[in-house]
Symmetry: none
DNA sequence: AAAATCTTTACAAATTATTTATAAACTCTT
DNA sequence: AAGAGTTTATAAATAATTTGTAAAGATTTT
């Protein structure tokens, strides 16, 4: 079943869209703003995103840009604005399609089908590179550089670091980290996490006694700052 | 330079489109009906097709269906008809986008960029020779030179090396390598791969114990660095 | 028929993941 | 501020899995 994320701050719109899409056998999730949309992209891993253009905080165009930094999920932008300049901006920001309200639901569904049809099969793994602070991650080559020199990480270590990196700055609970790296069945195994955090620190930290990058947040989880 | 085919029976439309697209560094060709469009697709091998909906003989929707039988070139349909039913029909026939006349040329250009951006780059089969680092591959003769001297490879070994070479620097998973060399039905046979990687190393590596070119990424796959 | 290539098998070596044990660090209560 | 109870860090042992290699059979090509 293909997964669709709807991003809109008006509940009456999301409700209508959710109903139509669910009726056509899509698994739907919604987000009301850009931040939570980005989070849902990571957790829910949708096959397609339908987003409104005007939203508080992060608008649809900024959302496109953010998503395109890490993924090629098809994005359809909805808007009441029919101005050409806005359309061009959205499409160039990475949107795949731009539909002006009001629109027929059948047309939306057809455009969803078209977008999903030509979408490359979801590449589980990220293809774009991450780079910030002392860290650099090349996904294609599966290489990690810290302060300029390469370090070799095992698959689990790599997955863990990537997840920390993608959520840099935030505190991630033990449960979340375990679910992300080991799967949902391992959320009660905090000892795994401890061992692997230790291994990662051994490889990336300079001063072993005072971790600079992976900070522990006692009783809660860990936080990564590149 | 990317190639665009415009299909429309009204010369004044094609003329306007041709001028705008040419000005943006696209190589443009035109066709006035479906039949000649299909012919041009074969000869010209465009990267994108812009077609009018209503044409004598074969209309835009039929044209989409015909093209989709053999190719996945992005198609943008233009039409004065804004009826939802027609849009749905065109999109389901294989069109990637549907623009209702009148439209701004900037919007069309943005949609062209969007369509080309997400299109899988045309996979023209490799005929030119590859040369980098200590390696040199002559496709026509199926010859491989390492550090200046020729080495003899069996067909499967050659395919494997070429695929590694074409993706040099990247880590290729076992599944990907198996699919590329043995076919999609062999992705669960990692023992094949092991044997052939071993054979290849025997032929190209200098220090057998410490591979320099074909590096193994445990639990993931292999990476080639010429 | 001979040669070359591909497939299959078996086992040792290497790598990673998991488990266990213990010491150290932290928070909260008293 | 001290101590109980818990959580966290670390090392080391064990288990599981993957990888490298040789060699024997099967198939195809010459």
């Amino acid at each position: 079943m293909q997964k669709i994320l709807i991003v809109d701050d008006e509940p009456q719109i999301t409700r209508v869209l959710r109903r139509s899409l669910s009726a056509h056998r899509y698994e739907v999730r919604t987000a009301a703003d850009g931040e939570s949309a980005l989070e849902t992209v990571r957790d829910f891993a949708p096959d397609l995103i339908i987003t409104d253009l005007s939203m508080p905080e992060m608008n649809g165009i900024e959302l496109c840009r953010e998503i395109r930094k890490t993924s090629e999920i098809p994005i359809i932008v909805l808007s009441v604005k029919g101005e050409e300049k806005t359309k061009v901006e959205a499409l160039d920001a990475g949107a795949d399609d731009y539909i002006t309200k009001p629109f027929g639901i059948e047309e939306l569904l057809a455009r969803v089908r078209a977008a999903l049809r030509r979408a490359p099969q979801k590449s589980e793994q990220q293809t774009e590179n991450l780079s910030e602070g002392d860290f650099e991650v090349n996904f294609a080559a599966r290489q990690v550089f810290v302060r300029g020199s390469e370090i070799h990480l095992t698959p689990k270590e790599f997955d863990l670091l990537v997840y920390l990196f993608q959520n840099r700055g935030k505190v991630l609970t033990h449960r979340k980290l375990l679910a992300a790296v080991w799967g949902a069945d391992y959320t009660e195994q905090p000892e795994y996490l401890r061992v692997f955090i230790g291994n990662l620190r051994k490889k990336i930290e300079t001063n072993h006694a005072e971790p600079k990058y992976i900070l522990t947040e006692p009783w809660v989880g860990y936080r990564f700052t590149p």
